[in-house]
């Protein structure tokens, strides 16, 4: 197995162009587990940890551009205000040691249906910046996940950054696991309110072959939330919203849980998340 370790982004893109089957590695928290499990090693590893440009995040006109090397620990510590759902999701990833190494870009590269970062990115309309020697393009998060562990990246592309809009309103993320920490999701829900556009974003994880939005639930909530009055959220609306989120899922039975439980808990989580966000926006208790 070749080991490539570029020190600049330009060199990284050249290396990926020359070795399109090279597997990018940053924290290695997913890849190394796979190798330990006896998955066939990739022909080459492309280590991105020496590429300085990837390490930080910056803010540009209401968008946070999170470099591919930014870890979950950084997001928790530095972006809880700007990207609240992503920060809550980051707190549920693995253990402190994992969060010190693992990155959102790595999560996107793996594109697992269980990736904890994905639902917040879906709910907030994030954009994935994909680069190659051919140039840079921006992929809408809605178009990014193609199938189980398949994404829209071309073989010569690397993720440079993910662009997340600064939160326009309250956001929530909730994750079910069968223990209280360090667990792969049984299912996850993210909800983001945008009071300016009067829109509601959603994302669900571990409940379909890919992370996905619950578009009908979003439309229902956007149309029926009392945006103008700022009044209380009707219990029926919260419940309908939860049920529509659950209806958007195509869960399976596996060792982590049953499809029926996933549907049920998605409805509960989505209902609660909408209640929490609305309460926060209208100044009530969360």
């Amino acid at each position: 197995m070749d080991f490539l370790r570029p020190t600049t982004w330009a060199d990284a893109l050249s290396a990926k162009a020359e070795h399109p089957d090279a597997m990018p590695i940053a924290g290695g928290t997913d890849l190394m587990v796979g190798l330990n499990f006896g998955q066939p090693p990739p022909p080459a590893l492309l280590d991105l940890t020496a590429v300085g440009e990837l390490a930080g995040w910056d803010r540009d006109d209401g968008t946070i551009r999170i470099g591919a090397g930014v870890t979950y620990s950084q997001i928790i510590a530095e972006l809880a205000r700007e990207c609240p759902a992503l920060a809550v999701a980051s707190r549920t990833v693995g253990s402190p040691q994992i969060r010190n190494r693992a990155t959102v870009a790595g999560n996107l590269g793996t594109a697992s249906p269980a990736g904890d970062a994905h639902p917040p990115l879906l709910a907030t309309g994030a954009l994935v910046e994909a680069s190659s020697v051919r140039g840079t393009r921006v992929i809408d998060i809605d178009d990014f996940f193609l199938g189980v562990k398949r994404n829209a990246l071309a073989p010569d592309e690397l993720i440079r950054a993910v662009r997340v809009p600064v939160a326009a309103g309250p956001q929530q993320f909730a994750k079910i696991g069968t223990r209280n920490a360090m667990v792969i999701a049984v299912c996850t829900v993210a909800v983001a309110l945008d009071p300016v556009r009067r829109s509601v974003g959603t994302g669900i994880g571990s409940a379909a072959p890919t992370p996905r939005r619950a578009v009908e639930a979003e439309a229902l909530a956007a149309a029926n939330l009392p945006w103008s009055s700022g009044g209380a959220l009707a219990e029926d609306l919260a419940r309908d919203f939860g049920n529509r989120v659950a209806a958007a899922a195509s869960p399976i039975d596996d060792v982590r849980g049953t499809a029926a439980y996933r549907r049920h808990s998605l409805a509960v989580l989505a209902r609660r998340a909408l209640q929490w966000t609305w309460a926060e926006m209208t100044g009530g208790p969360r």
């Binding site: 549920t92 994750k175 079910i176 069968t178 223990r179 920490a181 360090m182 849980g257 808990s265 609660r272």
Partner: protein, 764 residues
Amino acid sequence: MVSRSTHDHKPLIYEVRGGVGESPVRPDGTLKVKGEFAYASDLWLDDALFGVTLRSPHPRARITGIDISGALEIPGVYAVLTHADVPGTKHYGLDHSDQPVLAIDEVRYEGEPVAVLAATDPHTARRAVGRIVVSYEELEPLTDARQAVFDSSVPPIHPDGNVVRNQPIRHGDPDTATAEVVVTAEYEVGMQDQAFLGPESGLAVPAADGGVDLYIATQWLHVDRSQIAACLGLPEEKVRLTLAGVGGAFGAREDLSMQVHACLLALHTGRPVRMMYGREESFFGHVHRHPAWMRYEHGATRDGKLVYVKATIVLDGGAYASTTKAVVGNAASLGAGPYEVPHVSIDAYGARTNNPPCGAMRGFGAVQACFGYESQMDALAEKLGLDPVEFRARNAVSQGSYLPTGQVIDSPAPLAEMLRKAAATPMPAARSTMELGELPGGYGNTTHGEGVRRGVGFGVGIKNICFSEGFDDYSTATVRLELVAGEPVATVHTAAAEVGQGLVTLQGQIVRTELGVEAVTIRPADTSVGSAGSTSASRQSYMSGGAVKAACEAVRAQVATLVGRAEPDIQLTGGKVVSATTGVVADLADVLADGAVEETAVFRHRPTVPLDPFTGQGDSHVQLALCVHRAIVDVDVELGLVKVVELAAVQDVGRIMNRESLEGQIHGGTAQGLGLALMEEIQVTDGRIRNPSFTDYLIPTILDMPPMRLEILEYADPHAPYGLRGAGEPPTLSSTPAIVAAVRAATGLPLRRIPIRPEHITQQ
């Protein structure tokens, strides 16, 4: 803290630091915390080959051919061995030699070793093993233990049949007993794994005498040796074992894993051979806790006295016998729990199936039964309208009570007192914050208080300590007292396996107390000294502690002889030989100037007898230990998520030998019981393990394990060294039913299967 001793200790002089009753720093503690302790997986020799195992992908199949030629063509491969290369007996087993070293013509469980291979390095070895071609003819696996036991039309999956043991217990007149209030239910226990952190590892080095030296992480060196020597066709003295650093055991290292394989490869190649299982392989490479199906019927009077217990307990032993016989013996003899019951009828069975082999795990048969009888006690209390603590206390055993085996409990068994203490433990304050870490679901952010209900539950367990049923259980210790640089130094040598529990610390404490010498060296455990028995059954403080104490007494007697005195009059303390009547007799250094004093002692506990095969009567146990738990849980009833808020334990240990180690054992045992209650299960479908990893075999994290309140009692057992009572297992029994009872209280659900999964609570 209650400290009441009914046992007359010989007056011990505590002038030496770090003696019995103190908590000196563990000799291995700093190294382990700093990551510098050498575990078996760190073993290394420059010229060592790496050995790997080819395992069956099928739970049951006939082997129609093995072609090793492809593997042998790979450069760097030194040997590929199958059952044909096993020179001695082809089978091994702890209790009954029914398990092939390498599969012979048939595989009986998924993961059964079929061939072993040695190559220059792990990568080459793993690549090469994939080139061995085994032709299988798949057979229908037998995976239902009850079918294996009760359906006589099912053909045997092993020449020895599908029932490993059937042990009845008949006490009183259960056939005609009737009761005013009856509760009947069926219970299931999933397959728990020991989940030790250090995977199976060892290093075999061929010796010039044609024998082999094996460095191995195990629980019982001598029983490993006798099995290995038989399979290698070597006399035992040519098979020498040294304990390598053990990263946890909990029963999973009682059976052989790669011991014979590594030795075979080393002897075959003439090179040292190192083997180390990966995590996934480890799940296939050791035995697990027996899953259980149980049917219990309890009868009681309206005023809350037990009348009868009738139970059927089926334990799934998987493909080979392992320790199933003894596990069945425990489930049967302790199956009614620590309660006085006039009429008892229990039938316990151990089945052979094509599921993963099951054997020893902390609690050993008593854990499964405990979930059954404690669930029943709660159900009965509810039906009677009685408080579950009061109902248990009314029926609790005490010293002088009979077990259903007819054995009289002849040392303190203060269960009623323990129950009342557990119930009187202060309750934690109501949850005052919405801190996510304190809520069900934790940082998963699943509730901010919605759906959360609190429940409280109690559990009681009774566990036998040391080996039961007539086993000749003993331990050997050599203690040497000599001058080193003019100072007296004691050296202890046993074959007792330190698996993390702290026995090496305790051995030093005993020597300091008995010989008054501060400097104590513990030699590595190996087979050049007599057997210490197994590090299991909560027995090593009792047995190897007893052997070290006995060896010290022999050393003291020898010193007394050297100064012309009788032993009872002589104490060794502070480097002096002291007479109880005449004071200081001599400097120990002067006595030792002419040479070392060394004595070896063999310690046996009092004998036991096997259970009668038809009535289950007999004094089968050496010592019995009790633990009581109170659990407080918060359950998000809408999502089925559980947060254990607090666990309180009351345990009688006879004598606190080392409080810090003891508390660690109670915390750890409790956590393992929490795991069984709420998350730990090897999920097996059609004989196949579905979650062989720590990604999906979940054990409690620090966010799952709550703070504990401990109350430790010291009612000495007059039969045991220092009056101590084995302590490692009992908390593993009682924490599980206590937590389940608390979840039942919060949800109102019957919850008759463990581990409880979220969908059991939300009923999806």
